[in-house]
Symmetry: C2
Subunit: 255 residues, 2 copies
């Protein structure tokens, strides 16, 4: 099938541990993935947050955490782990909502999401005792992977670090971009003629988020693989930052 | 490339007019699209809202609209078309935000989105004088297309009607599902073991939204094509409704 867009999940990425060289591991996986043709500059490599956080040791051992009274009360009322609530509050730049068992905060990066991206599931043998934090600088994480791929394969492939976020008003999570290197995560098509030749007024497309969601479809649900190559999405190449995806404060109607 | 997920935009869909038989037109496009192999039951057909609305005559001629005072004031202040504002307000079940030039309403379907899905761009030769509304019953729209495809090709392919929505806190639009037939738009993976064998607590994935976003990557930006086949996404088949995607009121922290 001569598809417009093709997505291939990478095979054989092992359990990632603190200090692992993710660039090398991803390069090995690219070589190992059966039938994946040579990388091209119109590919995008999507890497999920969990393995980036683990490699960067963005992990907190919950047994070391002493929750504050507020965290204990919220956790007791809503059947949650008070130590995880404590970690979320410590990481938060501000709390957007803390009610009905849901804690939505603004992270140091400016993301507004449930639990500030602090995640308990799927963190390896210590499951239940450790949580992952978001990478400190996800653009830098993406850039390091991009450099490693470029030096090994001599092709400059944009990289997206992705994570699963909920959304107001719509049920369920979708994968979005939380770090980018080598592409513009937002494509401003304002002033571009549409199919009728009419100038579009406000088409600002969050392409990196769409690519992250598309990659998730290949990564699967159970025994999920943590990285995929997306070919044919044709993002706008450039030195964009995930900060470009943050709603400018003056347009934020939901502070 | 033996891709996990493949997306093919359909070729040669003509300008759609009121009353057009979209099922037949899409079937013709499927036959016409070079190299698209026979449809399979693990395909999903994604059709963008604009052509569905046009075929169903969910269109308003702005020259017939007399805007209320509130619409005129808002439009003058923010350089918008008062007649479009009037149409949005008439369609709205409630107004969520109406400030800084942005009008966010709840549609009769329960979607919360900018301009209630009323859209001025790309509506053919009458551009600027007509707007499209969302289909009255997008699940029914999807079902009718699914039936037409099934009777013509003898294969039952789930259908998603998609539209572009903004999101709080994140800049830019992404495509999401606004109508479904033949799949569950939300996959509740709670209680499913994750890759570590640990039971995941709260993975409820909005698969239909991810499939809609993935399709958009193939539909392109300029001269965009209005429908695509997504193969390999493996949505959960079933008789779901887009109502399943609406945040249950008791969990809505942003009323």
């Amino acid at each position: 099938m001569p598809a417009d867009v093709e997505i291939v999940a990478l095979d054989g990425i092992p359990e990632i541990a603190s200090g692992d060289d993710l660039g090398t591991i991803l390069g090995d996986a690219i070589e190992r993935t059966a039938g994946l043709p040579p990388l091209r500059e119109d590919d995008v490599l999507v890497v999920t947050q969990k393995i980036v956080s683990k490699a960067e040791n963005a992990i907190v051992d919950l047994t070391t955490i002493e929750p504050r009274v507020e965290a204990v009360r919220f956790a007791e009322r809503w059947d949650r782990d008070p130590r995880q609530i404590e970690v979320v509050l410590r990481e938060a730049r501000r709390v957007i909502r803390m009610e009905r068992g849901v804690l939505i905060t603004e992270t140091p990066h400016g993301f507004i999401c449930a639990n500030g991206g602090v995640d308990a599931s799927n963190v390896g043998p210590e499951s239940g005792q450790v949580v992952t934090l978001l990478p400190r600088d996800p653009d830098a994480s993406a850039r390091a992977i991009r450099e490693a791929i470029r030096s090994r394969f001599d092709v400059d492939v944009p990289v997206i670090v992705s994570d699963s976020f909920g959304r107001p008003w719509r049920w369920g999570i979708v994968d979005v971009a939380i770090g980018v290197s080598g592409l513009e995560p937002i494509e401003d098509l304002r002033g571009t003629p549409d199919a009728d030749g009419r100038v579009m007024k406000s088409t600002i497309r969050a392409s990196a988020d769409e690519i992250a969601s598309a990659a998730e479809l290949a990564l699967g649900k159970i025994g999920r693989r943590p990285a995929a190559v997306v070919r044919g999405a044709h993002p706008r190449l450039g030195e964009g930052s995930i900060a470009d995806v943050l709603m400018p404060r003056k347009f934020d109607l939901f502070p």
